[in-house]
Symmetry: C2
Subunit: 329 residues, 2 copies
């Protein structure tokens, strides 16, 4: 199939574009109507063998996840996703039918998150398959990671550690019951960006927000450094998915390490003054996802965690491409 | 150098962001102020060994060109570039200092084209170095490729064929004088997107516009198919860079083939009613770049060219990733 026929085939997989898409993919560039809000813009890439293996994620879910991770960045600004472009660098081993599966997953994510793929580029590569998604969203009141202040409550949405434990499961490592394994695998393959909670956080007036892409330790250290505060969390308040605890026992690992250093959970972590946090809690009751206070911001710097044996320094040891390979150990 | 330190180093190479950039790179997403115009959005990727070789382009010029090719897409909509995100998939052979050279070229292009890099992603890859640029621009009156009508004049900006001939030169093939070789190499390495002429074309009321990324033959066929017209051009009116003619004689090739099938010239090709074309010509006198009528749109389909020996069908044989390797022959 030649490049143009392939692109037409892939575009047919996508849902109808949002009403604000004036001209969808097919010309030199897509045309969209300007929103009245501020825009937010982000991009993320996934490389086969680095960010995923075909043995650990289906092509459908890879398509879904490749959009979800960028949507999560927009959610972490308190924004809503609008329009995406997708670049595929296609290695010789990938066939058109496999790209169609990928686009079906991307299409599902578009429908679920309310955004449109408005363009892209398909190129060949002798290297690994790579997908790069650039996403534009809107945000009435963008929430940065630099706004945390001493006295703010630190919080996270949902549960942490599921994605990294799920990767263990998908790599065939010793794990828990089949039911727990299925839950964890889904955490890794189908992350749910917290768009609604991000909007609720922005409306509630939280002071700082990040998404947990590199692990709680890394995100809190980023927030502490950007805001000029010290983050103090309590180990027993970090919401770890029950299946992660079950898995950790089988795998002879510490459940808290999955939450702190595993990453790819795509939950939100933030800081909020007490009244804003109360408003967020009230709004969050709509979403059937817990919002948990895990600590406080203080004067100072860095991140520390209260454990049974005292205060521990939490270093920014999350996933880092140039120091550790996620699909290694 | 770790990922975060590398990103900081690269961001320092960029010029100060545009005034409409509220929050530049560094948070989950960049924040920009919404323009009142329609937005246009595009993305392009360049892969080492497919789109470029280190022997045919410096890293500085690669950075420059990687933005220029996306800017050209925006220019081909009659728009102006605003904000870009950059994804680098970095192969093990590339060092941080080389990425800095690339960003210096990107920075030069930002300054020259009046846009800002507002974010990005740096990932490692075991495969070839790949740079992907997503770009948002604005356009008061976006010009599509589907608006050409029978009777419209077909025109191109500047001169064609220089980039493909330049690639021959850079690959050490037999060529013309050293002066001509330098001109051609520059055409390949430092394309000039026609932002001003694109805006002038939109204001003049042209009916269709494309940029010449895949060769004149491919672009005209796209326009003919999208607009439902037949494009009839005259070979002796296609503006071929004089150095291309000189090179073609040495290389024992046909100069017109470089213009029709070479691609990567990033000139504009369009269609316009007579009065709109006259307005464009008047406006173009500001830019020191010729705008040349090369033919007409008629009822029918496809693309034909009048030559000394009669009418020839011009097929869409431009660069196509899945049928031909640009850096091959």
């Amino acid at each position: 199939m030649d490049e143009f026929a392939l692109i037409r085939t892939l575009l047919e997989r996508l849902p109808a574009p949002r009403p604000d898409v004036v001209v969808a993919a097919g010309d030199d560039a897509a045309v969209v109507a300007p929103p009245t809000h501020k825009l937010v813009m982000t991009t993320d890439a996934l490389v086969e063998g680095v960010h995923f293996l075909q043995s650990t994620i289906t092509r459908h879910n890879l398509g879904y996840k490749s959009l979800a991770v960028s949507v999560s960045d927009v959610a972490a600004m308190g924004g809503e996703p609008l329009w995406a472009t997708v670049t595929l660098a296609v290695s010789p081993t990938w066939r058109a039918a496999e790209l169609v599966e990928l686009y079906d997953g991307l299409a599902e994510a578009c429908s679920e998150f309310g955004c449109s793929v408005v363009g892209g580029d398909v190129v060949s590569t002798p290297g690994p398959f790579t997908i790069s998604v650039a996403l534009v969203g809107k945000a009435e009141r963008p929430i940065l990671r630099s706004g945390a202040r001493p006295g703010d409550i630190l919080f996270v949405t949902g549960w942490l550690g599921g994605s990294a434990a799920g990767l263990d499961v998908l790599q065939g490592k010793r794990s828990a019951s089949p039911v727990a394994q299925a839950v964890l695998a889904r955490c890794h393959q189908r992350p749910t960006p917290r768009i609604g909670l991000g909007l609720a956080a922005a409306r509630a007036g939280v002071s700082a927000l990040n998404d947990v892409s590199d692990g709680l330790a890394s995100e809190l250290n980023e927030m502490a450094a950007a805001s000029g505060v010290r983050c103090v969390i309590a180990q027993d308040q970090v919401p770890i998915r029950p299946e992660v605890k079950e898995h950790a026992r089988f795998a002879d690992k510490l459940a808290i390490d999955y939450a702190l250093y595993g990453g790819e959970d795509y939950e939100l972590v933030g800081a909020a003054p007490r009244e804003a946090f109360a408003r967020l809690l009230a709004a969050a009751s709509l979403y059937n996802v817990p919002v948990t206070a895990i600590g406080r911001c203080e004067e100072g710097d860095g991140v520390v965690m209260r454990t049974e044996s005292g205060l521990e320094v939490v270093e920014a040891k999350g996933y880092n491409h140039f120091t550790r390979d996620r699909n290694g150990d």
